[in-house]
Amino acid sequence: MNCLLSAEKISVRYGSLAALTDVDLCVHDGQRHALIGPNGAGKTTLLSVLGATTRPQRGTVRFVGRDVSRLGPAARARRGINRTHQRPAVFATLTAIENIEVAALPRTIRRRRWSPGGTRGAARRTAAELLDQLGLSDLATVPAGHLAHGQRRQLEIAMALAGRPRLLLLDEPAAGLSATEVGRLAELLAALPRQVAVLLVEHHLDLVYALCDTVTVLRDGRTVAAGTPDEIRTSPLVRRAYADGVS
């Protein structure tokens, strides 16, 4: 089966520190793939390489069979790779609905479809639907800068979804959320359409095991294991990598 996204021999160095060394990764269409590992393992760096905010010293990134290594974040997003960030990145002075509308615009402009109100009207309808589905309709007119941390996380996920991605890169979406909010996030991710592949970086292993069908474990910038959640949960290599941190 061909990879939707493949990373081949990715290496990133920050001075003398090797953040990633010859890392390979393959995410299939519709797959829920998790990247786990202790702090400093290189998970976020790998996500940044895939999202084009970090340029690797070596390696190739392919998406739908095409080499996208030289493309920037905007071009990759237009091809279908959308992401969220470790710290929720939203447009603080825009309202929640405007945030999603802005994220939806490139798609509606690309399609150039006729719709009442033009491309912005289509983007606004998409934004309203997403807010409704996420239970954030009451916050539609609130500036994103006034939202609580968990609400910003949900909003950023909605923004990523508004671009109709084929691959969604989620960087620690559960970080800083309460148990209730993590439960809501799990429900939200579980309800994602099958045609959207997800690459999830996460420390909440219960969330990872519940949602994902494939798990890759990184440590010190290298892949130490990859397999199903059951294989990873019982792998002695992984236990060692986490220093008994995996339950």
Binding site: N82, L94, T119, L139, G183, R184, A186, L192
Partner: protein, 337 residues
């Protein structure tokens, strides 16, 4: 409710100010009318600074460059082609936009303080060129005795300060209205989004440099048009009108008025000119001190500017999402994205 009250108060104040500006020529003397016209021209440059600094997030000290380009184009080219005001404004806007377009490769890739430095350098470079290119610009002596304009074909030449003021007011009101309309469109929303988080905007697939280029050229056109109005108001221009002092005053005025506010840019410019040109007579030698105190007081007491002071409103708690509480993907309803 509070927002609605604020909105109404603002609308009432804006209406009163506009009414005051409209009746001003029949109330004030020639000197004051001339200062008001110059203030409006400078306020329009302030709008272009606010568009770049507050809306697009590109702090600039270089809008005097397209302002100067517009003024000289209007005075030199405009008067040779036509004495019709709208033609001169169009020529000036084109000159300002062209200069802004030429400097795009320098300005757009830069961010933050680097933009300030580059735009300051461009402004100073333009002033130097104006001072040296004597055959066209009159050098540091400037251009004097510039012919009056007629607002439109078939109308008489503007012969009084009051008439020139009214012409300036109409042009400024039209252009400010156009800018306000533009900011309500998708373009305005995208510029504000880029200012808030450029990486997020890129990560959503937007071509941010293209948007910033558009904003820079549009701001250049606005500043250029303001240059044409300065020529009408003063009937004399020299490189001294476009020096660093003017750049600093413009940025100061925009910060005082509220960087992200078009109205604030006008209010800020009016305050700065009032302090510089009117207080100068009341408190000789102390105008810069008052201006400094005004700036410090604004930054500390009203960090968003005198026209945008308001508190954040409370955020309602969200209701639960419309997704089924299950982890079985195949059994859950899909989000319609």
């Amino acid at each position: 409710m509070r927002d609605e009250v604020l909105r109404r108060v603002r609308a009432a104040v804006a209406t009163l100010v506009l009414a005051g500006l409209l009746v001003a020529p029949w109330v004030v003397d020639d000197y004051t009318a001339a200062i008001l016209a110059r203030t409006l021209a400078l306020g329009l440059v302030g709008v272009s600074v606010a568009l770049l600094t507050g809306v697009a997030g590109m702090p600039t000290l270089g809008q005097t460059a397209p302002y100067a380009a517009g003024a000289y184009a209007s005075a030199v080219l405009g008067s040779q082609v036509s004495d019709v005001g709208v033609v001169q404004v169009a020529v000036a806007a084109l000159a300002g936009a062209t200069l802004a377009a030429v400097t795009l490769p320098l300005v757009v890739p830069a961010r933050g303080v680097i933009v300030l430095m580059i735009t300051l350098a461009i402004g100073e470079l333009v002033v130097t060129v104006l001072g040296r290119w004597r055959s066209v610009t009159g050098g540091t002596d400037g251009l004097a005795g510039i012919a009056g304009v007629r607002p439109f074909w078939g109308l008489p030449v503007l012969a009084t300060d009051q008439a020139r003021y009214l012409y300036t007011l109409v042009v400024v009101a039209t252009l400010v209205g156009a800018v306000l309309l533009l900011l309500r469109t998708r373009a305005g929303v995208l510029l504000r989004a880029g200012r808030d988080d450029e990486m997020r905007l890129r990560a959503s697939g937007h071509r941010v440099p293209l948007y910033l280029s558009g904003a820079h050229v549009a701001a250049g056109a606005i500043a250029g048009a303001a240059g044409s109005l300065l020529v009408v108001a003063q009937q004399y221009i020299s490189p001294a009108d476009f020096g660093f002092d003017t750049s600093a005053l413009l940025l100061l005025g925009v910060v005082i008025g509220g960087t992200a506010s078009v109205g604030g840019a006008l209010v800020g410019a009016a305050l700065v000119i009032a302090v510089r040109d009117w207080l100068f007579g009341v408190l000789p030698g102390h105008a810069p001190l008052v201006l400094g105190a005004l700036f410090v007081a604004t930054v500390y007491l009203l960090p968003t500017g005198v026209t945008r002071a308001r508190r954040p409103r409370p955020v309602p708690a969200p209701r639960p999402p419309d997704v089924a509480p299950t982890r079985d993907r195949d059994a859950t309803p899909e989000l319609r994205v």
